[in-house]
Amino acid sequence: MKKLILIIIYTIFWRNFLKIIIGLKYYNQQVLRKKKPFILIANHNSHMDTMAIMSSMPSRYIHRVHPVAAEDFFGGSRFKEILMRYMVNATLIPRKRANSDEDIDPIEVMSNLLKKGRSIIIYPEGSRGVPGVMTDFKKGIGYLVKQNPTVDVIPVYLDGLHKTLPKGKNLILPYNCRIIFGESINFDSFDLKGIINSAEKAIHKVKSLVE
């Protein structure tokens, strides 16, 4: 049932809407063909980013892909939570790492999802930030990869989507924009700094693929 809803929303509605009206172009989509769970990392400037990534997922495992969203921003009310759960297939996590045993640890939540064979979408920058500018990655991606070294990490570069729906606006406008997928990252070292650095480099490399 959930799968059907997601297919109707993303594979049918959003994909065509983004392609025809917005003018989004998909590059290198074939890297998603493998059915293995993955961590998808992307630069983040707009709410459209999640729509673009979800719409490019193959329909056979779209229900197993979870965008990760901050609880304080997207949660809050019951309605919002249900919307996020069923319409976006999102998993809500707290922004801060757990201090005591009672708190939910965000990294733990994501790791559990990956262990269950689910894939996740995260934005290592943490928030949408300044339009069109990529900020430094937060440490979360480092911890996550360190705990799950066998999972594929797919870098994605989103180009121009911040123009279709900038931060703070609610009018979606057509602009030619691109979503470019890269091959999964080979990490040289699994220390925190090394992971973050190679993740950042990978996204910049994807950016230069189509230019």
Partner: protein, 317 residues
């Protein structure tokens, strides 16, 4: 389904032109294929790519223009839409222009609705008169006056180039007096597009073969006097022999095709200058080998409305 397809009624002349276009494409494809086998070069590669795109464009155009008039209007409206989108992507517009941009996009269906209904006066005044006032006022309403003059000038101009010009193609097939007696709007549309594109190709070919003296050295280094003159002369000759599509007599035909050739060159030059200002080579990458939509229809956007009014003046008045 029956209803959609039942409208296929092609005049014998139109069938002739379709046959001519297809045979040109076949000849071009085989020529470039042989050239590629004999002596591969960058130019041949580009030409092969361009010819491939011509096949696509040709089939889309034939499908849109022969199956059902409604599809023609929707197709042309989408052409305008894609063109506007391309321009707005390249223009660095302010964030406060966004709501006005929505109005610009919404003017497309309205303009094409007027074209579909054949409401001549409304069609003519909607963008140059009505939108010309509405757009600056909406920009004022947004409250941001920094650089407002730039947006005030750009947005109406983009509508004139991308919507007003192209929508005359739609008006050609819906205008009542253009479809009476021996005049067929569809044949006129085919004539206009064929001559405009032939002009583009001829100017390109003559420029490549004989080109020496640059005509606009600062704007477009590819345009030469030889290409321009050769293009205009050959286009006029082609137009003269394609005259069976139109109700015009010989001198009118020569005048019309001459005007199309000159205007096509002007449109091409205008868009070249715009691209130079943007600092890009092509407007987009939607059509392989050609660039974006505006790269292909740059000349059509300037030839279509003068051609319509020339026909109106010569045949109907």
């Amino acid at each position: 389904m029956e209803k959609i397809i039942s409208n296929i009624d092609l005049h014998a002349q139109i069938q002739w032109v379709i046959a001519i276009i297809l045979s040109i494409l076949v000849i071009a494809t085989t020529t470039f294929w042989i050239c590629n086998k004999l002596k591969p070069s960058k130019l041949v590669n580009e030409m092969t790519l361009r010819t491939k795109s011509w096949w696509g464009m040709c089939f889309i155009f034939l499908f849109a223009s022969t199956v059902n008039p409604i599809i023609t209007y929707i197709g042309l409206a989408f052409l305008s839409f894609f063109t506007l989108r391309e321009v707005y992507t390249l223009l660095k517009l302010r964030d406060s222009d966004r709501s006005t941009l929505l109005v610009c996009y919404l003017s497309i269906p309205i303009q094409y609705y007027f074209a579909y209904k054949g409401w001549y006066t409304m069609f003519l005044i909607f963008i140059p008169v009505f939108m010309f006032v509405i757009i600056p006022f909406l920009l004022v309403l947004s409250g941001d006056t920094k650089d407002i003059i730039r947006s005030m000038c750009i947005l109406p101009t983009s509508l004139m180039l991308g919507v007003f010009g192209i929508s005359h193609l739609a008006l050609l097939i819906s205008f009542p007096e253009m479809n009476e007696g021996n005049i067929s709007g569809k044949a006129l549309l085919l004539f206009l597009i064929f001559i405009t594109e032939a002009n583009d190709i001829m100017q390109f070919v003559f420029g490549k073969i004989f080109g020496k003296h640059k005509i606009l050295p600062k704007v477009s280094p590819n345009k030469t006097w030889e290409g321009f003159i050769g293009g205009v002369i050959s286009t006029t000759i082609i137009g003269y022999y394609m005259g069976f599509l139109t109700p015009l007599n010989s001198w009118q035909l020569i005048l019309a095709s001459f005007c199309i050739a000159i205007l096509g060159f002007m449109g091409d030059a205008i868009i070249s200058a715009v691209k130079r200002d943007f600092g890009v080579k092509d407007m987009g990458d939607s059509i392989p080998g050609h660039g974006g939509f505006l790269d292909r229809i740059d000349s059509l956007s300037t030839t279509s409305s003068p051609f319509f009014h020339l026909i109106y003046f010569m045949v109907i008045v």
